[in-house]
Structure formats: C-alpha cells, structure tokens
Assembly symmetry: C2
Homo-oligomer: 136 residues x 2
C-alpha cells in the first residue's frame, strides 16, 4: 500500500489510497525514465523523493510495472557493469514509451476533470442535504 507517513487524512485508509493511485504506476515510471535512464531501486527513490517522502510505491508494484513495460515494448533494460555492490538493471524509455506517456497524461487530465466534476456534485447539496417529496 502506498505509505504517506505524515498525512493523517491519507492514513485513514491505505487500501483506499492505493485504489486512487491504481493504474498510474506505469505512467509514473515512464515519467521518471523520460528524464533519463535509471535502475530499479533508483526509480523507487526518485518517486519517493519527488513527493518529499510523502508517497512511495512498493517495490513489488514497481518491479511488476517494469515487467509490464518491458513486455509492451515501452522500455528497454540492460544490466549495469557494476564491479561492486549489487547488480543493477537499468531501464530506458523507448519512443513507443514516450508516446504512451503523453497519451496517458492526456487521459489523466480528462479523468481528473471527470472526477472533480462528479465529486463536486456533493458540494452542490443544500444544507441538510435532502429534497422534499421523498418517503422517510
């Protein structure tokens, strides 16, 4: 589950937060890789740091995403040539990946507007929130 250590609002339900973020992982990874090649754990840290530590994506989620992106040809991978420490698998976005990234960002902008519109329905409620003419 996404962890947002300093947000009481979020911590009310990590499972709930995870569902709100579901489906964005691949696009987030593509965004990070648009900046430049990176290896798995570094991507994890980039995402965590980009939100000031407020949010992190679980490793299992990220590595599952890398596998999907590879399968779909949206990224390429190669092993780093480290002589020390753990071996690092680097990922590089492909042209197809860049196109999908931009498409997904567009889709997100539309979806964001839809959700805003739908959630604002409740803000339009009159005080007391009930219409006349209904059975108790």
């Amino acid at each position: 589950m996404p962890e947002i250590p300093d947000s009481d609002t979020f911590l009310a339900s990590d499972a709930f937060a995870a569902d709100l973020l579901r489906g964005h992982t691949d696009t987030i990874v593509l965004a990070v890789l648009s900046q430049g090649e990176s290896y798995g754990f570094e991507i994890f840290k980039t995402i965590r740091d980009a939100t000031g530590g407020a949010y992190e994506i679980k490793e299992a989620t990220l590595y599952a995403s890398y596998r999907r992106l590879l399968k779909d040809g949206l990224v390429e991978a190669y092993w780093g040539d480290e002589t020390q420490g753990g071996r690092r698998k680097y990922y590089r976005i492909t042209d197809a990946g860049r196109a999908v990234y931009h498409d997904n960002v567009s889709a997100w902008e539309i979806t964001r507007g839809l959700i805003d519109t739908l959630l604002e329905l409740g803000k339009a409620a009159r005080p007391g929130g009930t219409r006349p003419g209904r059975r108790p």
Copy 2:
C-alpha cells in the same frame, strides 16, 4: 468499463480509464446522495448526465457499490411504494456517509496533487531525454 463514446483519447483503452477511476465509485455515489435521496437507476443517470454523457458507471459496479455502502452504514435503503413499473430501491446518505464523503474528497485532492507532481516529472525531461554517463 467506463464508456466515453466521444473521446478518442479515452477510447484508446477503456480498461486503462477504468483503473484511473477505480476506487472513486463509492465517493461519487455519496456525492450524488448528498444532493438528496435517489434510487439506483436514477443515480446511474445522474452520474452519466453530470458528465454530459461522456462517462457512465456500469450498473453492476454501482449496485456493488450500494451494497458496500449499506454494509458500511454510509447509506440507508428503503423500497419505494410504486404501484406501477418496477420497484425502486431508494438510498439515503447517513451522517457517517457525509463524513466519509468529505474525508474522501480531501484524500482525492491530495492524491490528485501527487499524481500531477509525479506525472510532471516527465515534462521536466530535456530534449532527447537522456543523461550523459550511462551505458548505451
């Protein structure tokens, strides 16, 4: 899957769009019910009309949401007293439901900002999108 008949961007992947909207169904229903009591099919229509027909939530999804909301005590239900046509099950939001609605809207506002931040990482990429110092 959510249907957005007139949006080519969205129709690229309904499954993708569904994942972006996942987790919002309960909150959307609570938003509609904050305006006043309503029956199942009417809620369906309210949501579809609020987006100009661009988006609809499948009936199976909505009725599953009603069940969850009932189970959690966020709404109450009663049968209408129709003498004609199909019987209608009306739903009314509870005080607990209103509280959860507001909490979820707050959570959404935070999540929206996070996603915007993370997806913008790709916008910061330099032309060509690669950093020096990495193996080809």
